[in-house]
């Protein structure tokens, strides 16, 4: 069975602290996506990781991909309240051009002053 597992599922952080969210997946995939979702809102694309060793950074967020370990990480540096949201990773297990995604359960991040 294809599985995409995120941990932790809930994360409460203080402002200014660093933390990492992990995304493990059970199938071969060289494409991994990270999305952000605010409460009651839709999903916003954060990162597209397309190869082993890919690293992308945007502001306080940095994502990386290790396809051999089937692991992606989303690292948060010096968290601020505005980063509070649910973060989903997703993999494309079929390759090709149709881009079907299997999502993890999401990590609900709460950043407190």
């Amino acid at each position: 069975e294809l599985k995409v597992e995120q941990n932790p599922l809930f994360l409460s952080m203080q402002e200014g602290k660093n933390y990492t969210i992990y995304c493990n997946y059970s199938t071969t995939s060289d494409r991994l996506y990270w999305y952000r979702q605010d409460p009651g809102k839709s999903l916003e694309s954060l990162f597209v990781l397309l190869s082993n060793g890919a690293v992308k950074q945007e502001g306080r967020l940095m994502a990386s991909l290790d396809t051999k370990a089937r692991l992606s990480t989303l690292h948060i540096t010096a968290a601020v309240h505005d980063l509070s949201a649910t973060y989903f990773c997703a993999v494309d297990p079929y390759g090709g051009s149709q881009g079907n995604l299997i999502f993890g359960k999401g990590t609900k991040l709460s950043v407190k002053p």
């Binding site: 494409r31 996506y33 999305y35 009651g40 809102k41 839709s42 999903l43 916003e44 694309s45 597209v48 397309l50 989903f88 051009s97 149709q98 881009g99 079907n100 995604l101 299997i102 999502f103 993890g104 359960k105 999401g106």
Partner: protein, 113 residues
């Protein structure tokens, strides 16, 4: 400017009363997806269109149908909504190239009374 538009944003229907949700896009993307997202869960793919080719996920109930009359529009029909169909329905589009991500609309929140 909005790129993926969903209407209505909120829909209330009665048990068993058919309902249609609408999605339109200005991106000229050839792939369109419908997801169901229940509270505190990951989005679950229902089906997608690659151009005019319809692809149904194996576990999508027969109660759910879709139409794509042209590139810009896609509809989700729920023939006989049950209480378990109450959810956020997300439409997404993608250009069928390796490097692209999915672009999500704002979603339609469906309530079944």
């Amino acid at each position: 400017d909005a790129m993926v538009i969903q209407n209505p944003r909120y829909q209330v229907t009665q048990f068993g009363k058919p309902v249609t949700l609408s999605c339109s896009q200005t991106l000229n993307h050839n792939v369109m997806y419908w997801y169901q997202q229940k509270s505190s869960q990951a989005p679950k793919l229902l089906f997608h269109y690659y151009d005019k080719d319809f692809n149904n996920e194996a576990d999508t109930p027969d109660n759910f149908q879709s139409r794509r009359p042209n590139t810009s529009f896609c509809f989700l029909d729920i023939r006989s909504p049950g209480l378990g169909d109450a959810a956020m329905y997300l439409c997404a589009t993608r250009l069928a190239v390796r490097t692209d991500t999915q672009y999500f609309g704002p979603g339609t929140r469906l309530t079944v009374l």
